[in-house]
Structures are given as C-alpha cells and as structure tokens.
C-alpha cells in the first residue's frame, strides 16, 4: 500500500481516524523530540516535552488549517512548549546541575552516557536555530527543503547553518573528548 501523504493523514485524523493519528506520531515524534532537544538540551526532558506537545497538538488537530504544513505547525507547538518547560526548569533547578544518572530509557552504557553528555554539551555551544537544523537534519533526516519550509528560512540559509553547526560541533567534540568523536557515514 502506498504511504499516505502527511496532508492526507491530517485530513483523516481530523475525521477521527485512529490509524492516521498513529502514523502521524510515528512519522513526526522524532522531529518533535529533536526540536525539544534543541531548546532544552537534555534528552530526558526533551522526550517528555515532545510527547506532551505532540499529544496537545493532535488534540487540537482541527486547528491545523494547512494539513500539508503539518510539520511546521507541529514544531512551532513543540518549540513553544519546550521554551515554557525551559523557563519552568530554570526556576525549579537553577542551582542543580544536569544529573546524567537521572536519565532513563534509551541510555544503556557508561560510554553511551558520556558520549551523550559530550554531544549535549557541544550542542549547547550552537545557536538555537543551528541546533534545530543539525538535529532535524542529522537525527531525523529532514531535507534542506523541508527544513526551509518548516523554519521559514531559505534553503541556502539552512545549508549555511548546517555547515557552521557541523564544523562547530566537530571542533567542540574534539576539544571535549578527541577519542570519542564518532565520524559519520560520510553523507
């Protein structure tokens, strides 16, 4: 069966089709997580916020007036929620450092935890838009065209941001832990 387009899925979800909801979540949850991570910097918090924001967005799916632009609509909701969560977090634990030991779920080894910490630290040196672009592109596989449409930038601009972000990330990771910088697949 051919994959339904996002616009079709949104239209079906508006009619209450449960399988459309499920497919929308499976296709976009990681992007929501990437955007939340770009704002919050902590995988654990990003995971929670992405899920809550996604639930809130789907609950109000009728408000999505342009189904073809669902991704852009969704990431705005996620970003706003993440910013709100960031404010709350700042108030809550201003003096507390990020405790890696609290990270649950998808961490599974000491080396992994260290690498995640290095990545999070390196990502924090980027600008917010660079973080969103590098995470959506390199983590969720968004194309420059998709990024440009969702973020309201030109494709050239997206490429420049990605270029700068990757170079800065590499430099930062080399400085933090030269032996742990993993090289990509060469894409």
């Amino acid at each position: 069966m051919a994959e339904s387009s996002v616009a079709e899925l949104v239209t079906r979800a508006k009619r209450g089709d449960a399988s459309a909801f499920d497919q929308l979540v499976r296709r976009h949850l990681r992007a929501a997580y990437a955007v939340a991570l770009a704002v919050l910097g902590r995988p654990h918090d990003a995971d929670d916020v992405a899920q809550d924001a996604f639930v809130a967005a789907l609950e109000r799916i009728d408000d999505c007036r342009e189904p073809a632009r669902f991704s852009g609509w969704l990431i705005k909701i996620v970003r706003n929620r993440a910013l709100h969560a960031l404010e709350k977090r700042k108030l809550r634990d201003a003096a507390r450092d990020h405790e890696l030991s609290n990270e649950r779920s998808f961490t599974n080894s000491v080396g992994d935890v260290a690498l995640r910490a290095h990545l999070a630290s390196a990502l924090s040196t980027l600008t917010a838009v660079q973080r969103e672009i590098v995470l959506l592109h390199d983590l969720d596989g968004w194309s420059h065209a998709e990024l440009a449409e969702a973020l309201g930038l030109s494709e050239v601009n997206c490429r420049q941001h990605l270029f700068t972000a990757r170079r800065a990330l590499r430099a930062e990771l080399s400085a933090l832990a030269p032996e742990e910088v993993r090289h990509g697949t060469g894409t």
Partner: protein, 104 residues
C-alpha cells in the same frame, strides 16, 4: 565554497534506537491524543447542549412570568411647591428654615 563537513553521529541521542520502547511511546502518544480529543469534543458538545437548554429555560421563564402593571408616571409636584413657596402669605423665614433643613 568549502565542502560540507561530514555529519556528526548523533545516534546516541536518538530515542528511537530502542525500537521496543519507541514503539510503545508512539502508541501511547497516539492513544492519549485520540482519547483527549474525544473527551474535548464531548465536553464541547455537552456544553453546547447545556447552553441551548439554559437559554430555552430562561426564555420559558421570561414568557411565563406575570407581566407587571404598566406604571403611570407620577405627576411632578415641583410646580405646586413653587406656587406655595411664591405665595405672598408664606413666611420667608419659615421658607428659609425649610430650605436650610433640607440643605443639611
């Protein structure tokens, strides 16, 4: 332009690496969204019904309420008082005192 640097491997940050957990999370998010949307629609539907019923009840009460007799406007007594006050047999001191009492 310089060649684009290779992507940094961000897979350790990828929550979908744990496929079982990720699948459960996605299912849970979709189920919660469907349930909340259903609840929200039910609340809106019931709210609309409640508003219509309340409006109908209000209208029925208003229609069934006994009508009050139409009040006839009272005639102004200002003219009479003026006539009395300007009559020549009114003691000006009495009038003055009356005015003073009212002024207090």
């Amino acid at each position: 332009m310089e060649p684009e640097p290779d992507s940094v491997d961000l897979s350790s940050l990828d929550p979908s690496r744990d496929a079982t957990r990720w699948d459960a999370v996605a299912s849970r998010v979709a189920a919660r969204a469907i349930e909340l949307r259903r609840l929200r629609r039910a609340v809106v539907r019931r709210g609309a019904v409640a508003v219509v019923l309340a409006a109908a009840a209000g209208l029925a009460l208003w229609l069934s309420a006994p009508r009050r007799a139409v009040r006839t406007p009272t005639t102004s007594r200002g003219g009479d008082i003026f006539d009395w006050a300007t009559r020549s047999d009114v003691d000006p001191y009495e009038l003055f005192e009356l005015g003073g009492t009212h002024a207090q």
